[in-house]
Symmetry: C2
Subunit: 249 residues, 2 copies
DNA sequence: TAGTGGTCTAGACCACTTG
DNA sequence: AAGTGGTCTAGACCACTAC
Protein backbone atom coordinates (compact mmCIF):
# COMPACT_ATOMS: atom_id res chain seq x y z
CA UNK A 1 0.00 0.00 0.00
CA UNK A 2 2.36 2.66 -1.15
CA UNK A 3 4.74 1.65 1.57
CA UNK A 4 8.03 3.18 0.55
CA UNK A 5 11.23 3.50 2.54
CA UNK A 6 10.07 6.75 4.02
CA UNK A 7 8.86 5.47 7.33
CA UNK A 8 11.78 3.17 7.92
CA UNK A 9 14.43 5.81 7.31
CA UNK A 10 15.33 7.77 10.43
CA UNK A 11 18.31 9.01 8.48
CA UNK A 12 18.94 12.76 8.67
CA UNK A 13 18.21 14.71 5.52
CA UNK A 14 21.70 16.16 5.29
CA UNK A 15 23.22 12.70 5.46
CA UNK A 16 20.99 11.37 2.73
CA UNK A 17 21.81 14.47 0.69
CA UNK A 18 25.51 13.85 1.18
CA UNK A 19 25.09 10.34 -0.23
CA UNK A 20 23.07 11.52 -3.21
CA UNK A 21 25.54 14.30 -4.00
CA UNK A 22 28.48 11.96 -3.52
CA UNK A 23 27.08 9.56 -6.09
CA UNK A 24 26.33 12.41 -8.45
CA UNK A 25 29.93 13.58 -8.13
CA UNK A 26 31.14 10.10 -9.06
CA UNK A 27 28.99 9.76 -12.12
CA UNK A 28 28.05 13.16 -13.47
CA UNK A 29 30.89 15.54 -12.66
CA UNK A 30 34.53 15.89 -13.53
CA UNK A 31 37.35 17.34 -11.46
CA UNK A 32 37.32 21.12 -11.46
CA UNK A 33 33.73 21.41 -12.61
CA UNK A 34 31.68 24.01 -10.77
CA UNK A 35 28.46 23.01 -9.03
CA UNK A 36 25.28 25.09 -9.06
CA UNK A 37 25.28 27.65 -6.26
CA UNK A 38 23.98 26.79 -2.81
CA UNK A 39 20.66 28.58 -3.13
CA UNK A 40 19.84 26.77 -6.33
CA UNK A 41 20.96 23.38 -5.05
CA UNK A 42 18.87 23.84 -1.91
CA UNK A 43 15.81 24.71 -3.99
CA UNK A 44 16.42 21.79 -6.33
CA UNK A 45 16.49 19.32 -3.43
CA UNK A 46 13.68 21.04 -1.56
CA UNK A 47 15.63 21.77 1.60
CA UNK A 48 16.76 24.85 3.46
CA UNK A 49 20.10 26.25 2.52
CA UNK A 50 21.51 25.43 5.96
CA UNK A 51 20.68 21.77 5.47
CA UNK A 52 22.27 21.72 2.05
CA UNK A 53 25.34 23.34 3.54
CA UNK A 54 25.62 20.59 6.14
CA UNK A 55 25.88 18.07 3.33
CA UNK A 56 28.44 20.17 1.44
CA UNK A 57 30.52 20.56 4.60
CA UNK A 58 30.69 16.78 4.95
CA UNK A 59 31.83 16.40 1.37
CA UNK A 60 34.41 19.14 1.78
CA UNK A 61 35.70 17.41 4.92
CA UNK A 62 36.10 14.26 2.87
CA UNK A 63 38.09 16.14 0.26
CA UNK A 64 35.45 15.79 -2.45
CA UNK A 65 34.59 19.46 -2.83
CA UNK A 66 36.41 22.74 -2.82
CA UNK A 67 34.48 25.85 -1.78
CA UNK A 68 35.69 29.41 -2.14
CA UNK A 69 33.81 32.46 -1.01
CA UNK A 70 32.94 34.75 -3.86
CA UNK A 71 33.79 32.09 -6.40
CA UNK A 72 31.77 28.93 -6.00
CA UNK A 73 31.92 25.22 -5.27
CA UNK A 74 34.04 22.97 -7.44
CA UNK A 75 34.80 19.26 -7.60
CA UNK A 76 38.11 18.67 -5.85
CA UNK A 77 40.88 16.53 -7.30
CA UNK A 78 41.89 13.42 -5.35
CA UNK A 79 43.93 14.19 -2.26
CA UNK A 80 47.66 14.49 -2.80
CA UNK A 81 49.79 12.01 -0.88
CA UNK A 82 52.48 13.86 1.05
CA UNK A 83 55.30 11.82 2.49
CA UNK A 84 55.87 12.61 6.13
CA UNK A 85 58.43 10.65 7.99
CA UNK A 86 61.46 9.07 6.35
CA UNK A 87 62.68 5.57 7.10
CA UNK A 88 64.94 6.54 9.97
CA UNK A 89 65.53 9.48 12.28
CA UNK A 90 66.71 12.52 10.37
CA UNK A 91 66.94 16.22 11.07
CA UNK A 92 64.98 18.58 8.90
CA UNK A 93 67.32 19.48 6.11
CA UNK A 94 68.16 23.10 5.37
CA UNK A 95 68.55 22.26 1.71
CA UNK A 96 65.32 20.26 1.60
CA UNK A 97 63.24 21.48 -1.28
CA UNK A 98 59.92 20.21 0.02
CA UNK A 99 60.10 22.58 2.98
CA UNK A 100 60.84 26.26 2.64
CA UNK A 101 62.25 28.32 5.54
CA UNK A 102 60.01 31.30 6.13
CA UNK A 103 61.13 32.98 9.29
CA UNK A 104 62.76 32.51 12.65
CA UNK A 105 63.11 34.30 15.96
CA UNK A 106 63.75 33.77 19.63
CA UNK A 107 60.45 33.79 21.49
CA UNK A 108 58.52 32.15 24.31
CA UNK A 109 56.61 29.07 23.09
CA UNK A 110 53.11 27.95 24.13
CA UNK A 111 52.91 26.37 27.56
CA UNK A 112 52.37 22.89 26.12
CA UNK A 113 55.65 23.16 24.19
CA UNK A 114 57.60 24.34 27.24
CA UNK A 115 56.25 21.38 29.17
CA UNK A 116 57.20 18.88 26.48
CA UNK A 117 60.71 20.31 26.24
CA UNK A 118 61.05 20.21 30.02
CA UNK A 119 61.65 23.93 30.16
CA UNK A 120 60.23 26.39 32.68
CA UNK A 121 57.38 28.43 31.30
CA UNK A 122 58.43 31.73 29.79
CA UNK A 123 61.89 30.61 28.63
CA UNK A 124 62.45 31.69 25.03
CA UNK A 125 63.44 29.17 22.34
CA UNK A 126 64.44 29.42 18.72
CA UNK A 127 61.24 29.21 16.70
CA UNK A 128 61.61 28.33 13.04
CA UNK A 129 58.68 28.68 10.67
CA UNK A 130 58.66 26.63 7.51
CA UNK A 131 56.16 26.17 4.74
CA UNK A 132 55.52 23.14 2.57
CA UNK A 133 54.26 23.39 -0.98
CA UNK A 134 53.01 20.60 -3.20
CA UNK A 135 51.84 20.93 -6.78
CA UNK A 136 51.97 24.69 -6.41
CA UNK A 137 49.65 24.87 -3.43
CA UNK A 138 50.55 25.32 0.23
CA UNK A 139 49.84 22.11 2.14
CA UNK A 140 51.51 22.55 5.49
CA UNK A 141 52.90 25.08 7.95
CA UNK A 142 55.46 24.04 10.53
CA UNK A 143 56.71 25.47 13.78
CA UNK A 144 60.02 24.04 14.93
CA UNK A 145 61.01 24.75 18.53
CA UNK A 146 64.70 24.51 19.39
CA UNK A 147 65.96 25.30 22.91
CA UNK A 148 69.07 27.48 22.93
CA UNK A 149 70.93 24.71 24.75
CA UNK A 150 70.47 22.45 21.71
CA UNK A 151 72.44 24.76 19.41
CA UNK A 152 75.22 26.23 21.57
CA UNK A 153 77.48 26.93 18.59
CA UNK A 154 74.84 28.83 16.65
CA UNK A 155 76.22 31.81 14.77
CA UNK A 156 73.38 34.11 13.82
CA UNK A 157 73.32 36.39 10.81
CA UNK A 158 72.83 40.09 11.32
CA UNK A 159 69.10 40.07 10.88
CA UNK A 160 67.10 39.22 14.02
CA UNK A 161 64.63 37.27 11.89
CA UNK A 162 63.95 36.09 8.36
CA UNK A 163 64.73 33.05 6.19
CA UNK A 164 68.51 33.45 6.60
CA UNK A 165 68.17 33.11 10.36
CA UNK A 166 65.95 30.06 9.90
CA UNK A 167 68.54 28.37 7.70
CA UNK A 168 71.26 29.08 10.25
CA UNK A 169 69.34 27.28 12.98
CA UNK A 170 68.55 24.33 10.71
CA UNK A 171 72.21 24.00 9.71
CA UNK A 172 73.33 24.00 13.32
CA UNK A 173 70.91 21.19 14.17
CA UNK A 174 72.68 18.79 11.81
CA UNK A 175 75.56 18.61 14.31
CA UNK A 176 73.45 16.90 16.94
CA UNK A 177 73.36 13.14 17.27
CA UNK A 178 69.79 12.09 16.58
CA UNK A 179 68.72 8.72 17.96
CA UNK A 180 64.95 8.74 17.93
CA UNK A 181 62.02 10.45 16.36
CA UNK A 182 58.53 10.04 17.77
CA UNK A 183 55.67 11.16 15.63
CA UNK A 184 51.98 11.55 16.32
CA UNK A 185 49.04 12.65 14.22
CA UNK A 186 45.82 14.18 15.44
CA UNK A 187 42.95 16.29 14.20
CA UNK A 188 42.93 19.99 14.95
CA UNK A 189 41.53 23.25 13.68
CA UNK A 190 43.66 25.89 12.05
CA UNK A 191 44.51 28.91 14.14
CA UNK A 192 44.32 32.30 12.47
CA UNK A 193 47.98 32.45 11.40
CA UNK A 194 48.12 28.88 10.14
CA UNK A 195 44.87 29.39 8.29
CA UNK A 196 46.24 32.39 6.43
CA UNK A 197 49.41 30.54 5.50
CA UNK A 198 47.37 27.57 4.26
CA UNK A 199 44.93 29.77 2.36
CA UNK A 200 41.98 28.65 4.46
CA UNK A 201 39.56 30.16 6.96
CA UNK A 202 40.20 29.95 10.72
CA UNK A 203 38.88 26.71 12.14
CA UNK A 204 39.53 24.73 8.99
CA UNK A 205 40.28 21.08 9.78
CA UNK A 206 43.97 20.24 9.84
CA UNK A 207 46.10 17.22 10.58
CA UNK A 208 48.65 18.10 13.23
CA UNK A 209 51.87 16.11 13.04
CA UNK A 210 54.00 16.44 16.17
CA UNK A 211 57.58 15.19 15.98
CA UNK A 212 59.89 14.75 18.95
CA UNK A 213 63.59 14.83 18.09
CA UNK A 214 65.67 13.14 20.77
CA UNK A 215 69.42 12.86 21.23
CA UNK A 216 71.07 10.23 23.45
CA UNK A 217 70.58 12.52 26.41
CA UNK A 218 67.31 14.36 25.95
CA UNK A 219 64.54 15.84 23.82
CA UNK A 220 66.43 18.32 21.66
CA UNK A 221 63.71 19.82 19.49
CA UNK A 222 60.00 19.71 18.82
CA UNK A 223 58.19 20.18 15.52
CA UNK A 224 54.49 20.90 15.09
CA UNK A 225 53.42 20.65 11.46
CA UNK A 226 49.91 21.59 10.40
CA UNK A 227 48.64 19.95 7.20
CA UNK A 228 45.46 20.86 5.31
CA UNK A 229 43.13 17.96 6.07
CA UNK A 230 40.93 18.59 3.05
CA UNK A 231 43.65 18.25 0.43
CA UNK A 232 46.26 16.00 2.03
CA UNK A 233 46.73 12.30 2.59
CA UNK A 234 49.73 11.74 4.84
CA UNK A 235 51.91 8.79 3.88
CA UNK A 236 54.37 7.07 6.18
CA UNK A 237 57.43 4.94 5.82
CA UNK A 238 57.42 3.69 2.26
CA UNK A 239 59.63 0.81 3.47
CA UNK A 240 60.72 -0.43 0.09
CA UNK A 241 57.23 -0.54 -1.31
CA UNK A 242 55.80 1.28 -4.26
CA UNK A 243 53.55 4.25 -3.85
CA UNK A 244 50.12 3.20 -5.04
CA UNK A 245 48.22 5.78 -6.96
CA UNK A 246 44.51 6.11 -6.37
CA UNK A 247 41.79 7.86 -8.24
CA UNK A 248 41.85 5.30 -11.03
CA UNK A 249 38.10 4.93 -10.82
CA UNK B 1 36.68 57.66 23.50
CA UNK B 2 35.50 54.24 24.44
CA UNK B 3 37.28 52.82 21.47
CA UNK B 4 37.52 49.15 22.20
CA UNK B 5 38.60 46.33 19.88
CA UNK B 6 35.06 45.96 18.60
CA UNK B 7 35.46 47.83 15.36
CA UNK B 8 38.82 46.33 14.45
CA UNK B 9 37.73 42.74 14.94
CA UNK B 10 36.22 41.19 11.80
CA UNK B 11 36.53 37.89 13.65
CA UNK B 12 33.41 35.67 13.49
CA UNK B 13 31.41 35.42 16.70
CA UNK B 14 31.64 31.66 16.84
CA UNK B 15 35.41 31.81 16.59
CA UNK B 16 35.72 34.34 19.35
CA UNK B 17 33.30 32.26 21.39
CA UNK B 18 35.46 29.20 20.82
CA UNK B 19 38.47 31.04 22.20
CA UNK B 20 36.61 32.30 25.25
CA UNK B 21 35.20 28.86 26.00
CA UNK B 22 38.57 27.24 25.43
CA UNK B 23 40.20 29.49 27.99
CA UNK B 24 37.36 28.89 30.41
CA UNK B 25 37.85 25.14 30.02
CA UNK B 26 41.53 25.54 30.87
CA UNK B 27 41.00 27.59 33.98
CA UNK B 28 37.56 26.92 35.41
CA UNK B 29 36.63 23.36 34.56
CA UNK B 30 37.92 19.90 35.33
CA UNK B 31 37.79 16.76 33.20
CA UNK B 32 34.36 15.15 33.24
CA UNK B 33 32.57 18.24 34.50
CA UNK B 34 29.28 18.99 32.76
CA UNK B 35 28.75 22.36 31.09
CA UNK B 36 25.49 24.31 31.24
CA UNK B 37 23.13 23.25 28.47
CA UNK B 38 23.27 24.87 25.03
CA UNK B 39 20.21 27.07 25.47
CA UNK B 40 21.54 28.54 28.67
CA UNK B 41 25.05 29.03 27.31
CA UNK B 42 23.66 30.77 24.24
CA UNK B 43 21.60 33.10 26.40
CA UNK B 44 24.55 33.77 28.69
CA UNK B 45 26.74 34.84 25.76
CA UNK B 46 23.92 36.66 23.98
CA UNK B 47 24.05 34.64 20.77
CA UNK B 48 21.72 32.32 18.92
CA UNK B 49 21.91 28.67 19.79
CA UNK B 50 23.18 27.82 16.31
CA UNK B 51 26.14 30.15 16.77
CA UNK B 52 26.95 28.70 20.16
CA UNK B 53 26.79 25.24 18.61
CA UNK B 54 29.32 26.23 15.97
CA UNK B 55 31.79 27.04 18.74
CA UNK B 56 31.04 23.79 20.57
CA UNK B 57 31.52 21.81 17.38
CA UNK B 58 34.99 23.30 16.97
CA UNK B 59 35.92 22.38 20.52
CA UNK B 60 34.56 18.88 20.07
CA UNK B 61 36.60 18.52 16.88
CA UNK B 62 39.68 19.50 18.87
CA UNK B 63 38.89 16.85 21.46
CA UNK B 64 38.15 19.33 24.23
CA UNK B 65 34.47 18.51 24.68
CA UNK B 66 32.31 15.43 24.66
CA UNK B 67 28.66 15.85 23.71
CA UNK B 68 25.99 13.20 24.07
CA UNK B 69 22.38 13.57 23.04
CA UNK B 70 19.99 13.29 25.96
CA UNK B 71 22.84 13.63 28.42
CA UNK B 72 24.79 16.86 28.04
CA UNK B 73 28.18 18.34 27.26
CA UNK B 74 31.18 17.38 29.36
CA UNK B 75 34.85 18.30 29.45
CA UNK B 76 36.79 15.61 27.61
CA UNK B 77 39.96 14.01 28.95
CA UNK B 78 43.17 14.49 26.92
CA UNK B 79 43.28 12.38 23.80
CA UNK B 80 44.63 8.89 24.22
CA UNK B 81 47.72 8.06 22.22
CA UNK B 82 47.16 4.89 20.25
CA UNK B 83 50.18 3.23 18.70
CA UNK B 84 49.61 2.45 15.06
CA UNK B 85 52.48 1.06 13.08
CA UNK B 86 55.21 -1.11 14.59
CA UNK B 87 58.89 -0.69 13.75
CA UNK B 88 58.88 -3.08 10.80
CA UNK B 89 56.41 -4.82 8.56
CA UNK B 90 54.24 -7.23 10.52
CA UNK B 91 50.99 -9.00 9.88
CA UNK B 92 48.07 -8.30 12.14
CA UNK B 93 48.38 -10.83 14.89
CA UNK B 94 45.50 -13.15 15.68
CA UNK B 95 46.54 -13.23 19.32
CA UNK B 96 46.94 -9.46 19.47
CA UNK B 97 45.02 -8.15 22.43
CA UNK B 98 44.68 -4.58 21.18
CA UNK B 99 42.55 -5.73 18.25
CA UNK B 100 39.55 -8.00 18.66
CA UNK B 101 38.24 -10.10 15.75
CA UNK B 102 34.57 -9.36 15.28
CA UNK B 103 33.42 -11.03 12.13
CA UNK B 104 34.46 -12.25 8.71
CA UNK B 105 32.91 -13.28 5.44
CA UNK B 106 33.55 -13.57 1.75
CA UNK B 107 32.06 -10.57 -0.01
CA UNK B 108 32.63 -8.08 -2.80
CA UNK B 109 34.62 -5.06 -1.60
CA UNK B 110 34.08 -1.41 -2.58
CA UNK B 111 35.33 -0.48 -6.04
CA UNK B 112 38.29 1.48 -4.65
CA UNK B 113 39.49 -1.61 -2.80
CA UNK B 114 39.18 -3.82 -5.88
CA UNK B 115 41.23 -1.31 -7.82
CA UNK B 116 43.97 -1.11 -5.21
CA UNK B 117 44.20 -4.92 -5.02
CA UNK B 118 44.32 -5.10 -8.83
CA UNK B 119 41.22 -7.26 -8.91
CA UNK B 120 38.32 -7.00 -11.35
CA UNK B 121 35.28 -5.32 -9.85
CA UNK B 122 32.82 -7.72 -8.30
CA UNK B 123 35.35 -10.37 -7.25
CA UNK B 124 34.71 -11.42 -3.65
CA UNK B 125 37.50 -11.26 -1.05
CA UNK B 126 37.80 -12.34 2.55
CA UNK B 127 36.68 -9.41 4.64
CA UNK B 128 37.73 -9.41 8.27
CA UNK B 129 36.22 -6.95 10.73
CA UNK B 130 38.15 -6.09 13.84
CA UNK B 131 37.57 -3.70 16.69
CA UNK B 132 40.08 -1.85 18.82
CA UNK B 133 39.41 -0.87 22.40
CA UNK B 134 41.44 1.42 24.60
CA UNK B 135 40.74 2.29 28.22
CA UNK B 136 37.39 0.55 27.94
CA UNK B 137 36.16 2.61 24.99
CA UNK B 138 36.02 1.66 21.31
CA UNK B 139 38.56 3.72 19.38
CA UNK B 140 38.79 2.07 15.99
CA UNK B 141 37.04 -0.23 13.54
CA UNK B 142 39.02 -2.05 10.87
CA UNK B 143 38.16 -3.74 7.62
CA UNK B 144 40.86 -6.10 6.35
CA UNK B 145 40.53 -7.22 2.74
CA UNK B 146 42.32 -10.43 1.77
CA UNK B 147 42.04 -11.87 -1.76
CA UNK B 148 41.41 -15.61 -1.81
CA UNK B 149 44.65 -16.06 -3.73
CA UNK B 150 46.60 -14.72 -0.74
CA UNK B 151 45.45 -17.50 1.57
CA UNK B 152 45.25 -20.63 -0.63
CA UNK B 153 45.68 -23.00 2.29
CA UNK B 154 42.90 -21.48 4.34
CA UNK B 155 40.86 -24.06 6.25
CA UNK B 156 37.58 -22.49 7.32
CA UNK B 157 35.58 -23.47 10.36
CA UNK B 158 32.00 -24.64 9.95
CA UNK B 159 30.44 -21.25 10.48
CA UNK B 160 30.23 -19.03 7.38
CA UNK B 161 30.98 -16.00 9.54
CA UNK B 162 31.87 -14.96 13.07
CA UNK B 163 35.02 -14.37 15.13
CA UNK B 164 36.28 -17.92 14.63
CA UNK B 165 36.33 -17.43 10.88
CA UNK B 166 38.14 -14.10 11.33
CA UNK B 167 40.84 -15.75 13.43
CA UNK B 168 41.29 -18.47 10.83
CA UNK B 169 42.00 -15.90 8.11
CA UNK B 170 44.40 -13.97 10.35
CA UNK B 171 46.31 -17.14 11.24
CA UNK B 172 46.67 -18.08 7.60
CA UNK B 173 48.14 -14.67 6.77
CA UNK B 174 51.14 -15.27 9.02
CA UNK B 175 52.46 -17.76 6.47
CA UNK B 176 53.03 -15.07 3.85
CA UNK B 177 56.36 -13.34 3.45
CA UNK B 178 55.78 -9.69 4.20
CA UNK B 179 58.32 -7.27 2.79
CA UNK B 180 56.70 -3.87 2.94
CA UNK B 181 53.93 -2.01 4.61
CA UNK B 182 52.77 1.35 3.30
CA UNK B 183 50.58 3.42 5.53
CA UNK B 184 48.64 6.56 4.94
CA UNK B 185 46.44 8.73 7.14
CA UNK B 186 43.63 10.98 6.05
CA UNK B 187 40.53 12.63 7.40
CA UNK B 188 37.16 11.07 6.71
CA UNK B 189 33.66 10.89 8.08
CA UNK B 190 32.23 7.80 9.68
CA UNK B 191 29.82 5.75 7.61
CA UNK B 192 26.72 4.44 9.35
CA UNK B 193 28.17 1.05 10.34
CA UNK B 194 31.49 2.45 11.53
CA UNK B 195 29.68 5.14 13.46
CA UNK B 196 27.63 2.58 15.33
CA UNK B 197 30.69 0.52 16.16
CA UNK B 198 32.52 3.61 17.40
CA UNK B 199 29.54 4.83 19.40
CA UNK B 200 29.22 8.00 17.36
CA UNK B 201 26.74 9.56 14.93
CA UNK B 202 27.10 9.14 11.17
CA UNK B 203 29.43 11.75 9.73
CA UNK B 204 31.57 11.98 12.84
CA UNK B 205 35.17 12.89 11.97
CA UNK B 206 37.52 9.93 11.80
CA UNK B 207 41.14 9.33 10.93
CA UNK B 208 41.36 6.70 8.24
CA UNK B 209 44.55 4.65 8.30
CA UNK B 210 45.09 2.64 5.13
CA UNK B 211 47.76 -0.05 5.19
CA UNK B 212 49.07 -1.89 2.15
CA UNK B 213 50.62 -5.27 2.92
CA UNK B 214 52.94 -6.37 0.15
CA UNK B 215 54.80 -9.61 -0.40
CA UNK B 216 57.81 -9.94 -2.72
CA UNK B 217 55.46 -10.45 -5.64
CA UNK B 218 52.41 -8.29 -5.04
CA UNK B 219 49.95 -6.46 -2.81
CA UNK B 220 48.57 -9.27 -0.65
CA UNK B 221 46.11 -7.52 1.62
CA UNK B 222 44.65 -4.12 2.39
CA UNK B 223 43.53 -2.76 5.73
CA UNK B 224 41.31 0.26 6.27
CA UNK B 225 41.17 1.27 9.92
CA UNK B 226 38.84 4.01 11.10
CA UNK B 227 39.86 5.82 14.30
CA UNK B 228 37.73 8.25 16.29
CA UNK B 229 39.31 11.61 15.56
CA UNK B 230 37.86 13.28 18.64
CA UNK B 231 39.42 10.94 21.20
CA UNK B 232 42.53 9.58 19.46
CA UNK B 233 46.05 10.76 18.83
CA UNK B 234 47.80 8.34 16.50
CA UNK B 235 51.42 7.62 17.34
CA UNK B 236 53.97 6.20 14.93
CA UNK B 237 57.22 4.38 15.12
CA UNK B 238 58.48 4.81 18.65
CA UNK B 239 61.98 4.07 17.30
CA UNK B 240 63.67 3.50 20.61
CA UNK B 241 62.31 6.66 22.12
CA UNK B 242 60.15 7.09 25.15
CA UNK B 243 56.46 7.86 24.87
CA UNK B 244 56.02 11.38 26.14
CA UNK B 245 52.92 11.95 28.19
CA UNK B 246 51.01 15.14 27.74
CA UNK B 247 48.29 16.78 29.73
CA UNK B 248 50.69 17.70 32.51
CA UNK B 249 49.35 21.23 32.50
C1' DT C 1 27.67 45.75 -9.46
C1' DA C 2 26.23 41.14 -9.34
C1' DG C 3 26.93 36.72 -7.61
C1' DT C 4 29.19 33.60 -4.53
C1' DG C 5 29.92 31.31 -0.09
C1' DG C 6 30.19 32.63 5.19
C1' DT C 7 27.80 34.14 9.34
C1' DC C 8 23.87 34.80 12.25
C1' DT C 9 19.13 34.78 13.96
C1' DA C 10 14.77 33.01 16.27
C1' DG C 11 12.23 29.95 16.18
C1' DA C 12 10.26 24.69 15.70
C1' DC C 13 10.30 19.84 16.23
C1' DC C 14 12.70 15.30 16.85
C1' DA C 15 15.61 11.50 19.12
C1' DC C 16 17.51 10.15 22.98
C1' DT C 17 18.60 9.47 28.04
C1' DT C 18 17.33 9.63 32.62
C1' DG C 19 14.34 9.61 36.72
C1' DA D 1 7.68 13.40 31.82
C1' DA D 2 11.44 16.39 31.71
C1' DG D 3 15.70 17.75 29.89
C1' DT D 4 19.42 17.18 26.70
C1' DG D 5 21.69 17.60 22.21
C1' DG D 6 20.50 16.87 16.95
C1' DT D 7 17.97 18.43 12.90
C1' DC D 8 15.63 21.74 10.09
C1' DT D 9 13.53 26.04 8.49
C1' DA D 10 13.19 30.77 6.25
C1' DG D 11 14.86 34.42 6.38
C1' DA D 12 18.73 38.43 6.81
C1' DC D 13 23.10 40.49 6.19
C1' DC D 14 28.24 40.34 5.44
C1' DA D 15 32.87 39.44 3.04
C1' DC D 16 34.86 38.33 -0.88
C1' DT D 17 35.67 37.69 -6.04
C1' DA D 18 35.18 38.84 -10.59
C1' DC D 19 33.44 41.40 -14.32
Amino acid sequence: MGTTQLETVPEPKYWHLRTVLSEALDSEFTVGEVLPNERELAARFGVARATLRQALEQLELEGRLHRRRGVGTTVAPPRVGVEVGPDGPAWPDASDDTWQPVDSDLSTPPAAVSTALALPRGIAVHTVRRSRVSHGHPVAAELLYVPESSVPGLHLPDAPSGPARARAVLRELQHLDLVAQNRSVELGSARADDAKQLDRLPGAPVLVVTTHFTTPTRLAALSVATYRADTCRLTFGATGGVEIEEGAA
